[in-house]
Symmetry: C2
Subunit: 258 residues, 2 copies
């Protein structure tokens, strides 16, 4: 942090979407915010390739809320944002994907806003967009689905409840964030509401990253295949989508991602 | 198109998301594809600021399917993609927002793939992400909604039918694409299914562009307020979201967009 950047009382917070991991999926706006930052508070899932793009004088702080090791509480993150910005720093709050999609954005905006600090949201490529591009599919398709849902596998109460009747219908497409642990729960709810066991389900682990992996399965085989795949990285689960099956397409995708 | 770029038989098509209009919301991957393109086939809605970023030697072709003037048929666009790529050109098919969201992507991939031409999808910032950032809100929020729907206002059969019962519930959040013409239809369906007439509805016209406009209304007043606003540009309609009302936030948003 250079002294010349500190203007007491004129700090600012940019809530920036870092995209799914590939640094080429950052927006120009994100790069600009990143380059101008005095302090970058980032989640655990942000890739090293993305963090390497921060300006040389920026201070990087990992405020990840991981399951293991010291864990940051939301209130502490809020306080840190306000503290840095109140002292005049340009702060980037870097969130994986798009900050408005399952990003716990509101608490942080409320804290910054209550402190009278200016802020801005810089959108990012969300995991669903990157993952569906990685399997060569569309989230929507004429004649198949005129709506797509983004869901979370779990919420504050545990496994999240959803509109299972609608999701169980033929042609329904949903992108499930953080859906690995809830896979068996989701499977049970959907089958109970009449979903076809042969409904395609595709998981994309580490979407857009060099170690991206695709698991194509069915609702029936989801828990077994997921357990066998031993996915450790963040994964996006698509209900109702299979990878585009043309050999040309898949060979291209693999080549582009290699 | 420079001769040195033409390698017969090795053409390629990148389906690239141009984002919502602000050139700073292009990804680095989009810029790279754009700079390497021999031919760019683009929709009508792509902003001039974005088109100005194409490489100097690239040929720009407007294949927009506008309501007025000569209109391109989907089959003609498919044929043009195949024709250019078959002759060895690097083609960018530039689509507004994210190509996988209401982008008519599948027909074009099918055509390119059937011709044995390699292709790739480059994700973009979809209108919902840019518009919600513009009103300082999140698409999802703990305790309010653990799912968000992207819908289209109309499909091949006319006004699109949706799961109105679920959408009518308190706390439901949906981003409606191309929703201006269907506003009265959507209002009617939702109220018929028990939606509160006071449900907030927000329209964002020309999201992310210098001429962005925000219309904050309610389900009850939607048709009247929309008619009075006379919005000519593309608009994203949020069901269940109001602009963040803290004065600090709004003044910041307006300042940043000015």
């Amino acid at each position: 942090m250079t002294a010349s950047r500190i203007y007491p009382g004129s700090g600012h917070v940019d809530f920036v979407g870092a995209g799914p991991g590939d640094p080429d999926l950052l927006t120009v706006a994100a790069l600009k915010a990143f380059a101008a930052a005095d302090v970058v508070l980032h989640d655990r899932l942000i890739s090293d390739a993305v963090l390497a793009l921060a300006g040389e004088t920026a201070t990087l702080v990992d405020v990840g809320k991981a399951g293991f090791g010291p864990s940051w509480k939301q209130g502490d993150i809020d306080a840190l944002l306000v503290d840095h910005a109140s002292r005049g720093a340009r702060v980037v709050r870097l969130k994986s994907g798009d900050p408005t999609v399952f990003g716990r954005l509101d608490e942080e905006i409320d804290a910054v806003s209550a402190a009278g600090i200016s802020w801005r949201i810089v959108p990012g490529i969300t995991a669903a967009s990157a993952a569906v591009a990685g399997i060569g599919q569309s989230l929507t398709r004429r004649g198949r689905n005129s709506a797509v849902r983004f869901l979370t596998g779990h919420d504050m109460q545990g496994f999240a409840d959803h509109d299972w009747t609608a999701l169980a219908r033929p042609g329904a497409v949903a992108a499930i964030y953080m859906g690995k642990k809830s896979a068996r729960f989701v499977q049970g709810r959907l089958i109970m509401h009449g979903a076809d066991r042969a409904t395609p389900v595709t998981l994309v682990e580490n979407a857009s990253r060099p170690d991206q992996r695709v698991l194509a399965t069915t609702l029936d085989r989801l828990p077994a295949d997921l357990a066998a795949a031993e996915m450790d990285g963040p994964a996006l689960t698509f209900l109702g989508l299979a990878p585009r099956d043309a050999a040309t397409a898949l060979s291209t995708i693999n080549k582009e991602l290699a």
